[in-house]
């Protein structure tokens, strides 16, 4: 039994690779999508996991979030302490214990409270790389998880100061989700804020605006308004007042003036 088990270890990767290759080859020849929701990339994970990939991806995001909070899952975002070494045992996390049926004598609760970490902290900036494996896994698990791409690109550009990597990741996300508006906007924002590449940013916001008009894109006025605002802002930046007025008129005529981005766009002079 043990000898047979040894054989399985080198055999398993070979078996998986061969299965993956055969399925990819077959589905490419047949021209069908093994999993229409996730798209057929010929990837074994696509075929085996299907929509479960979204769940896996969400779980990876949650894991990254718990890493940001020192490995703790139950937390809220009030009064956090930044700094890995400044662990502070506060009242946080005691919500659970307040509801105890045994408020006076509960030795097990007392032990649990002292054994398990309960303070609310945020990860040190210089340890942000610890989040990346989970973010990477989230993006790989489901290329259609927009939140994964947005959160990862934010961590890369803002926390790790690697905006080039963030843009590359967003481009990959856009390739997988060609009708998504928010990825284009996230790309444009990084190009403006971190790379100062205004020309590329303008093309990103233009693409976002055009996609927002496409029927396949989910209707989201906030994103459309945001794209319009940035287009107006960039036009103003290069003193192209005619274009600015064109975007302002478009915003005024087609969008609700209650949207903050539209108000900001109209305020540009």
């Amino acid at each position: 039994m043990i000898k047979g088990f040894y054989l399985l270890i080198p055999l398993m990767p070979c078996l998986l690779f061969t299965t993956d290759w055969l399925i990819a080859r077959n589905s490419a020849q047949q021209g069908y999508s093994a999993h229409p929701q996730q798209g057929n990339s010929g990837n074994l994970l696509d075929i085996l996991a299907g929509d479960a990939r979204d769940l896996i991806s969400q779980a990876m995001i949650s894991k990254a979030e718990s890493y940001y909070h020192g490995g703790i899952t139950d937390h809220d975002d009030c009064q956090a302490i930044t700094g890995g070494d400044q662990h502070h045992e506060d009242d946080h996390g005691q919500h659970l214990h307040q509801k105890h049926f045994l408020s006076r004598f509960d030795p097990w609760g007392y032990l649990n409270k002292h054994i398990h970490a309960e303070a609310h902290i945020h990860l040190d900036r210089d340890k942000t790389e610890e989040l990346l494996p989970w973010y990477w896994a989230a993006c790989e698990a489901s290329p259609h998880n927009i939140l994964a791409f947005e959160a990862t690109s934010y961590a890369l550009s803002t926390m790790l100061e690697q905006p080039q990597e963030a843009v590359l990741l967003l481009e990959k996300g856009i390739k997988h989700n060609p009708y998504n508006v928010s990825l284009e906007i996230a790309r444009g924002e990084i190009l403006i804020k971190h790379l100062k590449n205004y020309k590329e940013a303008e093309s990103a916001f233009l693409a976002a605006y055009q996609k927002s008009l496409h029927e396949k894109a989910p209707a989201d006025d906030m994103l459309k308004a945001k794209a319009l605002f940035y287009l107006g802002y960039l036009a103003k930046r290069r003193n192209d007042l005619a274009t600015l007025h064109r975007w302002q008129t478009l915003g005024k005529e087609t969008m609700s003036p209650d949207l903050i981005s539209i108000r900001n766009l109209l305020a540009i002079e």
Binding site: I2, F5, Y6, I9, Y67, G70, G71, I72, G84, D85, H87, L96, H97, K99, H100, F101, L102, D106, W108, G109, L111, N112, H114, I115, H116, A117, E129, E130, L131, L132, P133, W134, Y135, W136, T152, L156, L160, Q162, E165, L169
Partner: protein
Amino acid sequence: MNHVIQLKALVRLSLLDLYRRKDLIVVAMLTLVVLVPMSFATPFGVKGASRYLNEIALLLVWIFMLVISMTRTARIIPTELESRTIYPLLSKPASRTLILLGRYAGVLMASLSVLLLFYTLYATINILKSAVFPWEVWLQALLLHAGFILLATSLAFLGSIFIHADANFSIIGIIVVSMLLYGQNIPVLIADQTPALRHLLKVIYWIAPHYEFFDVRTRLIHHWPAIPWLICCAAFAYAVIYSMICFGLAAWLFNRKKI
């Protein structure tokens, strides 16, 4: 003195049995197959992430330790009975309780030796990779994990007296996983139940083995400060007392058993 010699012989037998069967080599190979490719990964070209590796390594240690210790313990008595090797043991000038204690102590020692090996490897790799290592938390994690093994094996040992090994392993496995996941939240769950269910959950809360006391992986991985030693020792004492009760019950049942 005679009892001690007999006990030592039985313990030695279990240790030899574990290391002879090469289970450890299989476990070590599986760990390497999982961890080595991961250790070379640099997501988005950024190096320096290590906590995810520590987390996966510790998860594997927990799973392997549970499987090794539980399968060994659950099979002690049923195997002896099936292969009829229990008869030469019972014919020795030793009480049934001593035989039971010897067999249990042997499996426990073997499991704890594997645990020590795993934790030493974990510490060695971490020391080689980073300058700072939380020794105190590591020591507490080791002690509490030993408590966990003590608790899990004692319950499996008690089960092995009257249930088949596979059923025993499955039942204890379910109890362990359930308590690890929900043990801490039982008081919160109780509040929303009907009175009858509330009483049942209260009984479960008081008597079920609280395996969740012993899981301090988060503290070790994310560099949280150490637990007060008094609390740590209290949790370990809980495991010792619980396992003593389980062993007492097992001995009582085994002495009454017709073989």
